[in-house]
């Protein structure tokens, strides 16, 4: 909880830096605050917060996911200077909104009560609605914002109706009380209905097909840095919340929701990957790829064992790193070319080899090529789900196979075109190169030596 407080205060300070015409410091304030929070996440929780345990427990798992999210957000902050250079006038707001959103995400890692779950989701989402529309005069950004907002609010409605039904049947919001009620009354219709509604709502939030229809549009229309945030931290938060809720709270009606989830995962894997093939815009392709990754992560619910949380964390971290890696490249291209079609990437390998290599390795990591973190993540998921649902794994394998086709298109665009379409005078900044090298190092080292993750993030 101290982490939440630190990040919240950082956000407030960053926000007020803009008020006092010092918006250019907001990024550094955010970075400093995140570093402090990252450090604090390694410390044991202060005793003072024990009395809020009925709402909120910042346990080991929460700390693990918090660290991951903070690392990703830090990277985004480093990228922010270039990515948000068009938003100078309200950059402090954007940074503080990112931090507020992160706060909501951390609440989701540690909720103990459906009330906190709901609040976490809203704290996570509402800043995002604003951030999606950050390019105020751009109709695309507006469209992204309004679609995200309407869909998000719609999903919130379902979530709350589910919460109400669960409260009505079990008489409590407490996760463990619900857990016990579910075990005692697995056939309670109202409880099951509530469970299904909440599952639907969270499927909306993590964009599992067929509830994904908002995400390509939103991801494409939002400013790229914000898209990256949505693809990474938001997805981490959403999945951790879903995971906690389903495996702890609704354990009693496991048999009911696991089938629904299986169907969702199958649809997601096939649909998103096929749609990804059909795209001509790299950003939109990445959006579909993000949706398809929701499908892979969905495998975590099958064959749950004591390593599941670790697998989830690893996959999410690997996926987030890869997303940042690709999006970083996309941010650069979009900035220079003012568009993000595959064609815009032509010849990037010549003019900006480091960025292009980062993007390629990230894409290969997403596809699950060995020696990248993505492979280890996918492998763990497949290995876990293989026992419980081999069919799903086969479909996931097929999905991966399809996905490699569209990932390759981007790599081809970057490396296989002789003519460079980039103006050489606009070189990428040092920060980007450092971040790029960091991402390459992280992806490769996690892929070569996966236990590093367990060591660094304290499992």
């Amino acid at each position: 909880m101290s982490v939440i407080i630190i990040i919240f205060l950082t956000a407030v300070i960053a926000l007020f830096s803009g008020v006092f015409e010092q918006g250019k410091w907001a990024r550094y304030i955010g970075i400093a605050g995140l570093l402090v929070a990252f450090y604090v996440a390694f410390l044991p929780e202060h005793q003072f917060f024990a009395k809020y345990n009925s709402m909120f427990i910042f346990g080991e798992n929460a700390a693990l996911f918090t660290k991951i999210s903070i690392v990703i957000t830090l990277i985004l902050f480093f990228l922010g200077g270039f990515a948000l250079s068009n938003h100078r006038s309200h950059q402090s707001e954007l940074y503080s909104l990112i931090l507020f959103s992160l706060t909501g995400g951390i609440v989701l890692f540690s909720f103990q009560n459906l009330v906190t779950l709901f609040l976490g989701i809203e704290i996570l989402s509402i800043p995002l609605y604003v951030m999606a529309g950050a390019r105020k005069s751009d109709l695309k950004s507006t469209e992204a914002s309004i679609k995200y907002f309407l869909m998000g609010a719609f999903a919130t409605g379902f979530l709350l109706f589910g919460v109400a039904l669960i409260y009505g049947s079990s008489g409590s919001f407490d996760l463990y009380a619900i857990h016990e009620f579910g075990i005692a009354n697995p056939k309670n219709l109202m409880f099951t209905m509530g469970c299904v509604l909440m599952l639907t709502a969270l499927a909306f939030k993590v964009s599992l097909a067929p509830f994904h229809m908002w995400s390509p549009d939103v991801y494409q229309g939002s400013p790229s840095l914000i898209t990256t945030f949505m693809m990474t931290v938001v997805k981490i938060s959403g999945f951790v919340a879903l995971f906690r809720l389903m495996t702890i709270g609704f354990y009693g009606v496991f048999g009911e929701w696991i089938n629904i989830l299986a169907v969702l995962v199958i649809i997601t894997l096939l649909l998103a990957n096929f749609m990804g093939l059909a795209q001509s815009n790299a950003k939109r392709m990445l959006a579909y790829s993000s949706v398809s990754h929701a499908g892979y992560i969905g495998l975590i619910f099958f064959g749950i064992n004591n390593l599941s949380t670790y697998n989830l964390a690893f996959y999410l971290f690997a996926y987030s790193l890869a997303s940042v890696g690709v999006m970083m490249c996309l941010i650069y291209v979009e900035k220079i070319k003012r568009e993000s079609s595959f064609k815009a990437f032509n010849g990037l390998g010549r003019s900006e080899p480091i960025l292009a290599v980062t993007a390629s390795i990230s894409l290969l990591s997403m596809a699950g090529i060995p020696l990248t973190a993505g492979f280890v993540g996918k492998f763990s998921l497949f290995a876990q789900a293989m026992e419980a649902a081999p069919i799903l794994v086969i479909i996931a394998v097929l999905g991966s196979a399809i996905s490699i086709a569209y990932y390759l298109r981007l790599i081809i665009a970057m490396f296989f075109h002789e003519e460079s379409t980039f103006n050489t005078s606009e070189k990428v900044s040092l920060t980007y190169n450092i971040v790029a090298v960091f991402i390459i190092a992280a992806i490769i080292s996690l892929g070569v030596y996966p236990d590093l993750f367990a060591m660094q993030f304290g499992l």
Partner: protein
């Protein structure tokens, strides 16, 4: 002694990185050649100290076993047995020759090109020496990336990207299924160590699933009908060195994987209907490849389909012996034939591709109908080409003969009908290869071209000559390879006996 293997593995990697960042394009080929030659010397050093004894030969030597991931239950486990040694030697012979074969060509970013070739060598060596399922899979996939870049970036025509990407996706799909299969076995065994994978207890149904999942990867890599779709296009449009790597060494990954992983892990599945089906497919591939090759006019395509035919024969032999063994008649003949033909095929196909490349350089076309009469102006080339061609044909006293003979015999032992059918391979090969040779070397050639071409250069000669030496050497003296393979194969086929 494990240092030798470590050096052998790391040297290409270091060479790759070094070459990749080597600014000077002029010397990058020399640097790459240097690295590969050192690697070759190391390989022969390892061979020299390799213990061939009939009982010790099956034991792993030069073993490296480093704990790697506790979470994934996997170790970095490498080691060399007879089977690995053969593949290791093949790789280390061919890579320097492949690099040397490109010396005459000017290409952009040649340092990157050689870096990728060395990276490829690293992956191949890893595949052939790894003794852990996960590590094996890792190296298996790693080989894909450099070859994709090599073929895609330095390929010959506009369509290169389309076909290399097709190749990538085909093989990647296969690999993923292999991953699924390996995971299934892994879930039922203590760890990813090879020995644990062997000892996993699976029912026939489960094994059938695993068998087809893993076989798919090998079938694509071989390739075996109906997964051959990518092959001829990719071979055709790749740069010559890419085709050499693909057909000469990468296809052998599948042979190796079949023997090392598929047979011992899924004996029950092979004993069921799956083994028979696969054998049929392989035999069909043999005939199919040969027939298609007969009607091709594109030099590289002829080689591609001939390769398809030979590889099909290898796979068919392996399965025929496996099926025989499972019936109770223990035999390792198919395995022996497969190993020796794999080695021979590696050398022959590289030579053939190089000859095709030389022909292309002389005639500026790959259409054999537009060639002709070269024998009169390039006698050295004609002779070396002939030797390699004979090896590929399986003429006695060349390296192809023994392998093909043993393989056809082993298939015949299992089923006389299939044996007879697969025997057509030799006749078909004679048909298409001699047609190729005849069209290219004799007959009426274009006088203008013929008047301007010279005989092969020194580099070309040295490559072809080295290959020709191996063709004859192994044809006369194949015993060392059989000895090396023997103990490993006994172990592998022995695991099929219940």
């Amino acid at each position: 002694m494990s240092g030798v293997l470590l050096a052998l593995l790391l040297l290409p990697l270091i060479g790759s990185v070094f070459t990749f960042f080597w600014k000077n394009n002029k010397f990058s080929n020399d640097v790459a050649l240097g690295f590969s030659l050192i690697s070759m010397v190391l390989a022969f050093y390892a061979l020299a100290y390799f213990n061939f004894g009939p009982t010790v030969g099956q034991k792993l030597q030069y073993e490296i076993n480093v704990p790697f991931s506790g979470v994934l239950r996997s170790n970095l486990h490498f080691g060399i047995d007879g089977l690995s040694m053969i593949m290791l030697i093949l790789t280390n012979i061919l890579v320097p020759l492949i690099i040397l074969s490109s010396f005459n060509e000017k290409r952009a970013y040649s340092n990157k090109f050689y870096g990728l070739i060395l990276l490829m060598q690293f992956g191949l060596l890893g595949v052939f020496t790894s003794l852990d399922g996960l590590v094996f899979y890792g190296f298996w996939e790693i080989t894909l990336i450099p070859i994709w870049f090599i073929c895609g970036l330095w390929g010959q025509e506009d369509q290169k990207l389309k076909f290399t990407t097709k190749f990538f996706i085909f093989t990647f799909v296969g690999s993923l299924f292999m991953l699924a299969g390996l995971i299934y076995v892994y879930n039922h065994s203590a760890s990813f160590a090879l020995i644990d994978l062997y000892n996993s207890t699976l029912t026939t149904t489960e094994q059938t699933f695993v068998f087809w999942a893993i076989f798919l990867a090998f079938a694509v890599k071989f390739p075996i009908f109906p997964f051959h779709n990518w092959q001829s296009d990719t071979y055709t449009y790749s740069p010559t060195q890419g085709s050499m790597l693909l057909s000469g060494i990468m296809a052998k990954m599948a042979v190796f994987g079949l023997l090392r992983y598929l047979l011992p892990i899924t004996p029950l599945a092979i004993a069921g209907t799956s083994g028979g089906i696969v054998l049929m497919l392989c035999v069909f591939t043999v005939v199919f490849g040969g027939l298609i090759a007969l009607i091709q006019n594109d030099s590289k395509r002829i080689i591609a389909y001939s390769s398809l035919s030979h590889i099909g024969l290898i796979a068919a032999g392996i399965f025929a012996s496996a099926l025989l063994t499972l019936k109770g008649n223990f035999t390792i003949e198919g395995g022996e034939g497969a190993v020796i033909l794999a080695f021979a095929h590696g050398i022959n196909v590289v030579g053939l591709f190089y000859c095709a490349d030389i022909l292309f350089k002389k005639f500026k076309t790959r259409d054999i109908r537009q060639m002709g009469g070269l024998a009169s102006v390039a006698p050295k080339f004609a002779i070396l080409f002939m030797i390699i061609l004979f090896g590929s044909l399986g003429v006695p006293l060349t390296n192809g003969f023994i392998g093909e003979f043993i393989l056809i015999k082993s298939i015949y032992d299992y089923s006389s009908l299939l044996g007879v059918i697969s025997g057509f391979t030799m006749i078909l090969a004679a048909g298409y290869l001699l047609r190729f040779y005849g069209k290219a070397m004799f007959g009426e050639g274009d006088k203008v071209i013929l008047s301007s071409v010279k005989d092969i250069s020194g580099v070309e000669f040295s490559v072809l000559a080295s290959l020709a030496v191996f063709v004859i050497l192994l044809g006369v003296f194949p015993q060392p390879i059989l000895d090396m393979a023997n103990s490993s194969l006994k172990l592998i086929y022995g695991s099929l006996v219940f």
